[in-house]
């Protein structure tokens, strides 16, 4: 019996050793290379090397990941209500989601881009576009909160957005769908020649980042798909891909794919800026919301703007040119030197690369192939730098490593292809699982990429994770690009369907990350900055409760004299002044979300009691060992009762 036991254990040991040996050798590509697991392993308590801001796609939000670990740190609410953080639910942030169409609680978030100084990422703000109800949002990277949203008038399908020029002079928003400008009631079939496309240049205040539409360029009625700024030598220009130069309005998948070549629109924004600064352009009536969050009052205000400055490109000669580009180009990517503009012709067999220098020469020599609605079209051959021959099927986007290589995603053949700038030869390819859309190298849209990793954002997930019913998570993949060959390191799930991402070294952001809000700086009109300031004030049928929280009680925690039919505002100030001590609060039957209040912050929710009784409220965020005791009661009396208004903490209401 004893021998049998020994034997069994010995056999099991051998099997275990054999199995583990197999696994090890499988992931090792050579004796000297470390394993993929080691490259993405960030030990407990250690920090990642890079931040990645990955768009939340149709969730409307922006997610924050660490690279190389692929760990999710935060989902920043931007265009969609978020009950967890009360964004769009509390009284302070509801105005953030105001538009000319009223309160819009959702959008389709697309292309995040980090602000830059001198062509290098500076880590101050992230900008991201809402595609559906055209908006651009600014996220402050000291608080990781959305602090501004501006609606874009004369736009529909805000897709060739939100890319930042190299000194953050402008964040640019181009329309994907052309529309009547101004909007009017007209037959759809009269699209051609009558619909227009707007390209909006939104100035960024250098100190506070406040956005203002400087001008809108009113272009022919094409679809403006994606864009990127010139940089270095091409700083002052902006490039937009177009499709549907056919100007079709129905059965687009056929009718918008007729032309052999569409265009990349090259826009000399410096020239237009000068024209506008000298009084050029036409002010036209428009209605669009500008929503700004103030960190001192912890509140947002929404202002409805009434007009926008428009520019007809024909009024600024030499400001706009069309570069013919095969075939329905999608991504429009500019290399770190600013010389090369890649048109990812999604229906083309080859990848087209234009030369900025050749473009300037062609303009100088006045070599024009034709015009589209008065805008000069340059010769394809005159601006072409080179072609990457048959690199794959369905090219979408290109990023750069800063070492002379470009990386292009191919949706149909589902791969990332690495090629050399200048020789246009393909040097490596790696499969994606599956159907990759965007890709991101930290700093990839700047003069200084950090060419260590590339993140591929895939459109289809299928079998990569444990199944979760018909809907599965979206998927990203991380590749090591530090060597000659790309190496797949990691799959990690993402939220929504990510459209692009922006990344940068953690050290740019980490030291500036705020830990709390100082009580002495709190300028919220309904703040109670100490328990001595807590009170309950009735004004007709409206009641304002000035409440505070600290571990672990509310002040006041007993309130009487509330009546059915009242509008009761809970203004709750968190008196904590320590890192990572938020308090939550929720009221039974309130038709809204909880509040999640950071230290030193004031937030407000509305409760409209409908039933007589004594109703409890409690803290929703586990705050201390006495969290379960953090609770209180509100007595609700009939509408016609005479119960006096009283409040207390620590003693019975007399």
């Amino acid at each position: 019996m004893k021998h049998l036991l020994k034997l069994t254990i010995a056999i099991v040991s051998v099997l275990v050793a054999f199995t583990s040996c197999n696994n090890t050798s499988k992931s090792n590509s050579g004796a000297l290379s470390s394993s993929a697991a080691e490259k993405v392993y960030v030990a407990p308590g250690d920090h990642d090397e890079f931040y990645a801001f990955i768009s939340g796609g149709f969730s409307g939000q922006l997610s924050v990941y660490g690279l190389p670990s692929g760990r999710l740190f935060k989902v920043i609410p931007v265009f969609s209500q978020d009950a967890e953080k009360a964004y769009g639910y509390n009284e302070e942030t509801k105005p953030m989601l105001n538009t000319s169409h009223g309160f819009v609680p959702w959008d389709d978030a697309h292309h995040p881009d980090i602000s830059q100084t001198n062509g290098v990422i500076d880590g101050r703000w992230v900008f991201i576009n809402g595609n559906n109800t055209p908006r651009i949002a600014k996220i402050d990277l000291s608080t990781f909160e959305t602090t501004e949203i501006i609606e874009i008038p004369n736009s529909a399908g805000n897709h060739s957005s939100s890319f930042v020029t190299e000194n953050s002079e402008y964040v640019v928003a181009g329309t994907r769908f052309s529309i009547p400008i101004p909007q009017k009631d007209m037959p759809i079939k009269d699209y051609k020649g009558n619909f227009k496309g707007s390209l909006s240049f939104i100035s960024i205040d250098p100190e506070h980042g406040h956005m203002d539409i400087k001008f809108q360029l009113i272009m022919p009625g094409f679809d403006y798909d994606l864009s990127h700024p010139g940089r270095g030598k091409s700083h002052g220009w902006f490039f937009f891909t177009t499709y549907n130069t056919e100007e079709a309005s129905t059965l687009m998948e056929v009718n918008a794919s007729q032309n052999d070549k569409d265009f990349i629109a090259a826009v000399n924004w410096k020239k237009i800026e000068e024209y506008v600064n000298n009084g050029g352009g036409t002010m036209m009536p428009a209605k669009y919301a500008h929503n700004v969050y103030d960190e001192a009052t912890h509140s947002a205000t929404s202002t409805m703007k009434k007009e926008v400055l428009t520019v007809n490109p024909l009024d600024v000669p030499g400001a706009v040119y069309f570069l013919p580009t095969p075939k329905s180009p999608h991504g429009c990517d500019v290399d770190p030197t600013g010389e090369y503009i890649v048109g990812n012709g999604k229906l083309s067999a080859n990848l087209t690369v234009h030369s900025f220098t050749k473009m300037l020469k062609a303009i100088e020599d006045n070599k024009v192939a034709g015009e589209a609605y008065g805008i000069p079209i340059l010769n394809f051959e005159d601006v072409l730098a080179g072609v990457v021959e048959q690199p794959g099927l369905g090219p979408l986007h290109t990023e750069f490593d800063g070492k002379g290589n470009a990386y292009t995603t191919f949706f149909i053949s589902s791969e990332v292809v690495k090629w050399k700038i200048g020789t246009w030869e393909v040097v490596d390819r790696q499969p994606c699982y599956y159907s990759v859309g965007h890709l991101m190298i930290p700093g990839g849209n700047s003069q200084k990429p950090f060419g260590k990793y590339v993140v591929a954002m895939n459109k289809i997930t299928k079998d990569r994770y444990l199944p979760t019913g018909p809907e599965v998570t979206q998927s990203a993949q991380l590749y090591d690009i530090s060597g000659d060959k790309m190496e797949l390191l990691l799959d990690f799930p993402t939220i929504g369907e990510p459209h692009y991402a922006a990344g940068c070294p953690a050290d740019l952001i980490k030291p500036r990350s705020k830990k709390l809000f100082k009580l002495e700086d709190n300028k919220h009109p309904y703040a109670a900055l100490s328990e001595a300031d807590t009170k309950v004030v009735r004004d007709g049928k409206t009641v304002h409760i000035y409440m505070t929280t600290i571990r672990s009680h509310f002040a006041p925690d007993n309130i009487e004299g509330i009546k059915v039919g009242d509008k009761v505002y809970f203004h709750v100030t968190n008196l904590e002044q320590d890192y990572d001590v938020p308090h939550g609060v929720s009221m039974i039957g309130a038709n809204t979300s909880e509040l999640l209040i950071m230290p030193g912050q004031t937030e407000t929710f509305l409760w409209e009691p409908k039933q007589v009784g004594v109703w409890p409220f409690y803290c929703t965020d586990f705050c201390s060992a006495l969290h379960q005791e953090m609770q209180g009661y509100v007595r609700v009396s009939p509408a016609n009762s005479n119960t006096p208004l009283k409040w207390s903490l620590g003693e019975d209401i007399e």
Partner: protein
């Protein structure tokens, strides 16, 4: 039987070496001895004086304040400033002269050193983990933590001066 085991053992070791795994010394035999727990029966003396009443004028606590000499005269301006800081940042849990969420600071300097008081204000997390008095206080006050309100050293010093006026 024994030879089979030996062969398997050799195979096992070979495999381990061949795949570059850690070389481990083979344990001779297996032992299934029951772990014997030696329990000491100690009866703790019941602490009769609560931590809030205990007098300890030697313990300086743990934190940035290593030594602090107080003037005989109370600095009234400083005390007034301390009263203001106390009102803004401390009254959610402390009443000057009676127990509330936390203990009352009245007469605190007859029970504690000035260093201990300031370290408790400036470094409460470490104090309630390591300082025996602060640990006992945390338990006495239902585990309600002393919140770090991020006072500057200057503000904490002013609060201490204010405490001297509470008599």
């Amino acid at each position: 039987m024994k030879s089979t085991l030996n062969i398997l053992t050799v195979l096992f070791v070979t495999l381990l070496i061949s795949c570059g795994g850690k070389e481990e010394k083979k344990k001779e035999g297996f032992s299934y001895d029951k772990k014997v727990t030696t329990e000491k029966t100690t009866t703790k003396k019941v602490e009769k004086i609560p931590a809030s009443k205990k007098i300890d004028l030697k313990n300086k606590g743990i934190g940035p304040i290593k030594s602090l000499a107080l003037n005989t005269e109370i600095d009234e301006a400083m005390a007034a400033k301390g009263a203001d800081v106390f009102k803004k940042l401390c009254t959610a849990c402390h009443r000057p002269d009676k127990k509330f969420i936390g203990p009352a600071p009245k007469d605190i300097l007859s029970r504690r050193t000035p260093e201990w008081v300031m370290n408790m204000i400036l470094n409460p997390d470490e104090m309630t983990q390591k300082d025996p008095l602060a640990k006992a206080l945390l338990i006495e006050f239902n585990g309600s933590p002393m919140a770090n309100q991020n006072l500057s050293e200057e503000d904490a010093r002013a609060v201490l001066e204010y405490f001297r006026t509470l008599k």
